[in-house]
Symmetry: C2
């Protein structure tokens, strides 16, 4: 019953639903483009790790692969399009329980003939290479002549940027079409094989290898065409076999794997707003299909495998926003995401050297090679007509500490000593070495100058509080894990002692950086009302925005979320209030984190409102919000808001802590939580909190501030608790 539903066809929402209705399995992502063509429709298939750097570009792009989803359907001579004729009934849904995308249309052609058209599609969760599709067409008013043309279409580009050269086209046994391609610069080889279960006429022209099936079908009889496709790349070690099973058989096998996923990774919410459960299911479904499962050479792009936004690059989003969902559900996958960083320690160290630092300076954006991939230019400046340079590659360094934070989070949750010995301690050491070299001694105080914090509307600032605290944490944890390295220990201790950590002023305000509190304030109501659109940049240049108290997202709030015990509650409250007023929430990373910190601060209603708004980032009514793909970090943050916000889990202490504090609209929440090799089932009901696990070992934890012991089941009566802070 988990369904993303499109009730009516609207051209304007084509690419938003195209992103939402992506089917995939972490290896492969196939956008929910309609089978037939429409103007502006972006068709897309992506394989994790398959990037290419186009000629003349400085950054790699997630490659839009040759398409197998398109079907050109001609019914009695008329090309099927919902723009033409009349759509009598329309229904499209992605069944997240099974991973199948279904569309059913009753259509009347311009000639007045009626047809029932059903389209089905899924990517196998059992065999990661397989895409299956099925088309069923029934003539309702007369006999029909149906023509269906489909195959492998390598005319696909990334918005006009070609990534692939065609190496060979073959047809085997007058049945199986096989296209082989190679990415132009990165030299990855892609093989796409496809076949349909009816005889057709083959053509190979203009980068398309096609078959056209033509049949005559009596009224009320069903024409069915099944198409199976297999995608394989040079990143795959094993060979991919072409499936012998039918659509239905493949689907049944895939469904079983999906059922297992939902049983363990799903979060159940009982809310008076049923949308909450849907938004959570949507988040979990997409987190699952965006994340590679068995290949540490790949991480998660900012849009997962749903679109070409941010060119498929990997940001801090992965470690801070996406990894936790896996860490507390499938910790092996979290480990693999960290291994991706470890794999590219070499490139990070090279980037540090190039920039005059020690240790590891991870690229702000990365892809397959582990090199810096941040584009040189961003949007056009309407005043000068020129494009604006992106400073993140040079100055947005907090990512380094974010990775270290994720290493510690992983270690805390799993106690994986092997990982720490193999990778973790070294990652901490190298990232810490970076910070030590990054700091500047100013009159005996160590300062970190000229950075960008998470708030990207404030550039080139000194002593960004978020960055300094994170750097401090990074070096502190590195020291814990590298005590025997005397040379490092000496440097680290000096760094920790002398690094400037901004604290609250007399008014109780922690400055975001050295100059922020001195800047002018403007009324942001207009921009907050259009949040997420970066509308401020249409009225002000980046330079002007930089000189005002305008936040894209609030650094301090982020810091409060990551270190829930570090600041006194009244300081959190005061600064939350101050900075939120100055925050447009133009970053999709903002809202859900605010929900968590508002909940911590006891503002439950406000927290819930932020949560609901966060859910609308990809699911709201704005038609083009997700054209380039879904906001992967935001989806991770929705899950964080439930587990670390409303369910009140806190992993920052020695023991696991839990102190649920649900919104008024919620009656219950239940989820599983992996901790120290155990899986804890958490069930929060109106009056009880029940924790259970399948082993008998004793787990100490803190519930609403009191130490408790969990063996198999522990039930706490909440009626006696004061659950507001």
């Amino acid at each position: 019953m988990r369904k993303i539903i499109e009730k009516e066809f609207a051209l304007n929402y084509l690419n938003k639903y195209g992103s939402q209705m992506t089917v995939g399995n972490g290896y492969l992502g196939v956008r929910g483009a309609l089978e037939e063509e429409y103007p502006e429709q972006v068709r897309g298939m992506y394989v994790a790790g398959i990037y290419n750097r186009p000629s003349g570009s400085m950054s790699s792009e997630l490659v839009n692969l040759p398409d197998v989803t398109r079907f050109q359907v001609t019914l009695d001579g008329e090309v099927f399009s919902m723009q033409a004729g009349k759509v009598h009934t329309y229904e499209r849904f992605l069944d997240m329980d099974t991973g199948e995308l279904v569309r059913k249309i009753t259509w009347e052609s311009s000639a007045g003939k009626k047809y029932q058209l059903n389209f089905h599609r899924f990517v196998s969760k059992e065999v990661k290479h397989v895409i299956a599709a099925k088309v069923e067409i029934t003539p309702l008013s007369d006999n029909m002549k149906v023509k269906v043309k489909t195959g492998i279409d390598a005319q696909q580009t990334n918005f006009g940027t070609q990534q692939l050269a065609e190496s060979s086209l073959r047809i085997f046994d007058e049945e199986l079409m096989v296209g082989e391609y190679e990415t132009i610069e990165s030299k990855q080889r892609i093989t796409v094989a496809t076949k349909v279960n009816e005889k057709g006429i083959f053509t190979a022209k203009n980068r398309q290898l096609m078959t056209e099936v033509e049949q005559e079908i009596a009224v009320n009889q069903v024409f069915t065409l099944e198409k199976l496709s297999v995608v394989k790349t040079s990143l795959d070690e094993a060979d991919a076999e072409f499936p012998k099973a039918s659509y239905a058989e493949l689907k049944a096998a895939s469904e079983t794997v999906w059922a297992d996923f939902w049983e363990h990774a799903g979060v159940r919410v009982k809310s008076t707003n049923t949308f909450d459960q849907f938004a959570l299911d949507f988040a979990c479904y997409h987190l699952e299909i965006m994340t590679p499962k068995e290949d540490s050479r790949c991480s998660v792009g900012a849009k997962g495998l749903t679109g070409e936004g941010y060119k498929g690059h990997v940001f801090w989003d992965t470690e801070i926003f996406i990894m936790p969902f896996f860490l507390y559900n499938q910790p092996e996958i979290a480990k693999q995401l960290l291994q991706y960083r470890y794999l590219h320690l070499k490139e990070a160290k090279e980037k540090a050297v190039k920039n005059g630092y020690n240790g590891a300076l991870y690229p702000w954006e990365s892809a397959f090679s582990g090199e810096e991939e941040t584009p040189e230019f961003a949007a056009i400046n309407i005043r000068t007509g020129t494009r604006q340079k992106v400073a993140s590659a040079i100055s947005e360094h907090h990512l380094v500490a974010d990775i270290a934070y994720a290493v510690c989070e992983y270690e805390a949750a799993t106690g994986d000593a092997q990982f720490m010995a193999d990778c973790g301690a070294e990652l901490l050491l190298e990232t810490a070495e970076f910070w030590i070299s990054r700091a500047t001694n100013r009159n005996g105080r160590l300062e970190i100058l000229d950075v960008i914090g998470p708030d990207e509307y404030t550039e080139h600032i000194d002593n960004n509080t978020y960055t300094n605290y994170m750097a401090h944490y990074n070096v502190k944890k590195a020291l814990e894990w590298n005590k025997d390295n005397k040379a490092f220990a000496a440097q680290a201790e000096k760094f920790l002692e002398n690094l400037y950590l901004p604290v609250e002023n007399e008014a109780g305000l922690i400055p975001q950086d050295d100059t922020f509190l001195q800047k002018d304030w403007i009324n942001l109501d207009k921009y907050k009302a259009a949040q997420g659109t970066q509308g401020i940049l249409l009225d002000y240049s980046r330079q002007e925005v930089n000189e005002l108290q305008i936040l894209k997202q609030a650094d301090l709030v982020m810091l409060f979320y990551l270190f829930p015990k570090m600041f006194a509650p009244e300081i959190v409250k005061k600064n939350l209030d101050y900075y939120e007023k100055r925050t447009i929430h133009d970053s999709s990373l903002s809202k859900a984190i605010h929900a968590i910190v508002e909940n911590q601060a006891g503002n439950r209603a406000q927290a819930y409102q932020f949560f609901q708004e966060a859910c609308l980032i990809d699911l709201g009514s704005e038609p083009h919000s997700s054209d380039d793909g879904l906001h992967a970090a935001s989806l991770g943050a929705i899950w964080l808001a439930v587990v670390f916000g409303f369910a009140g889990i806190d992993t920052s202490g020695e023991l696991l802590e839990i102190a649920p504090n649900l919104p008024d609209a919620w009656q219950a929440v239940a989820f599983e939580f992996a901790w120290k090799g155990e899986t804890i089932s958490v069930e929060i009901a109106p009056n009880t909190l029940q924790l259970s696990k399948s082993t008998k070992s004793v787990l100490e934890l803190v519930i609403y501030g009191e130490k408790q012991q969990l063996t198999d089941t522990l039930t706490i009566n909440l009626e006696q608790k004061d659950v507001s802070l």
Copy 2:
């Protein structure tokens, strides 16, 4: 009154009309794609000489440049598309008199609102860089909110093959959008500048630089948007200025140049079938806009600048089928086309050396560099599933002699001694040297082995009659122009003496090659009925076709056309009859040449039928015959059929000859004919043939076999003539 008219909108004909309704000027070609997007619609803009060799490919492609023709129109929230809503009236025409493409639609949106939309577009014939467009929208039923988005769209590719890297995007004065691009391999620079005459909001994303204009317009008021664009490339020496004039002013200036063209280059036919005049106008219009006017670095591609078929490559089509239109109208342009070959003598000599020959072996297909550009593979083989090698680059050598033939034709028509001294004699010499080295001595007889003649269904044959005769002519003419070159003269004389020139057998049949007459014959009715589609290759492999008496076009007929005096009339008749029965006419070069030779042979009705069928190659009802562009050579041949066929001009003797022999349906023909620096006006009326020129010099010519003298005007009464052979 010269108009290409589309009476109703039909998706199926989109790309055929897109080719037919190309606007251009020889420098620039802009396909007649509709302003709004449709599935499968191919939008295209091409500049002569701008090719790029994509990564992994062996051949260059005519580059599909960033688009300026697209307008996304949103009317009261609904995206305008003729697939949606209802089209009440529709009219589209390309006015060949003025070069303007016009579309007028009365459209009712899905919401039931009515609008009048008029679209106008032309490429200036005065300033070759300029493209002008105008959109007029009138709300007919209510006030309207109109949004128009347009700009420079560099998402254009050649069917998924990207040719351009984006170098820079700029907006000047919040008005002028400028995109700079570079072809990836050939490193040609392209600048596209555009602006609209209303204020809009600019965006630059995904290779699109756009402005969006939004206005509210009262019912029955007209919203007008003019868009001017300028295209310039690194092949241009002079700078291109952005025009200050309006659409109307630019159009008026361009029209004047068009009027001059039609006055001199137009052919007037009085026929009971008005389609004949239209087809001729269509041919002349397109010949004019496909041919570069002032740059010998560029020649004419097989589809002109109307599409991407044959990748924009230059074949023998140019010299044999297209050049004559210019030679006898604007001889300077014919000279320039020959200079293109002379410019690439070096590459032709290199190709000869690479293949073990002397002299100049011109590439079967060429582009900007003058190197061989023939693709390695053609269509897929349905039996083996593999693609089939193209043998033309290795064996289709007659092109060498075709170029030499065109040099002689040019010299005969112009007497241009300077050209012969500068280029012509050397071209003849080098091409002749090739043939001398190409021949093989077999028992004292020189033979030319393993070639392909114009009939490409017969490969790897020995002593192709067309090739041998053409080679003989080539060497003979080279000898005439290089008598002082003793070494060459000795070789040439030996070659001329010993080269095997096939003659008729006892049955009067001249063999097409050594083995053709021994091959089996099959009934071709089925394939002749579907001529032009190469349907034979769906039933037979190329190998099988090669072993049967199946012609794509008839080599002998081609030879009869080029040398009208060489064979006795009864031999022509017999062989015409024999070979035509075995010719599918799958080549678009076939029909019009048959028309000429049938007319020579006295089969007037048959000739006229071939002529009419030739006119249908691009203008017939088959919806996809011209999707990839028009058949440039076929358009040239339509003109040839009139001038060298029905009007009976013969330039193969010492004197110009003329012996008109019109189809029954024709009452009159009139055209100008440039000869030896004079322009002769030819007017053929029912009973008179009138020739006139503006000078008083005496020109000797042969009319119906009788020597005559033309000073200013010469009128021959045809009633006394027996005009059938």
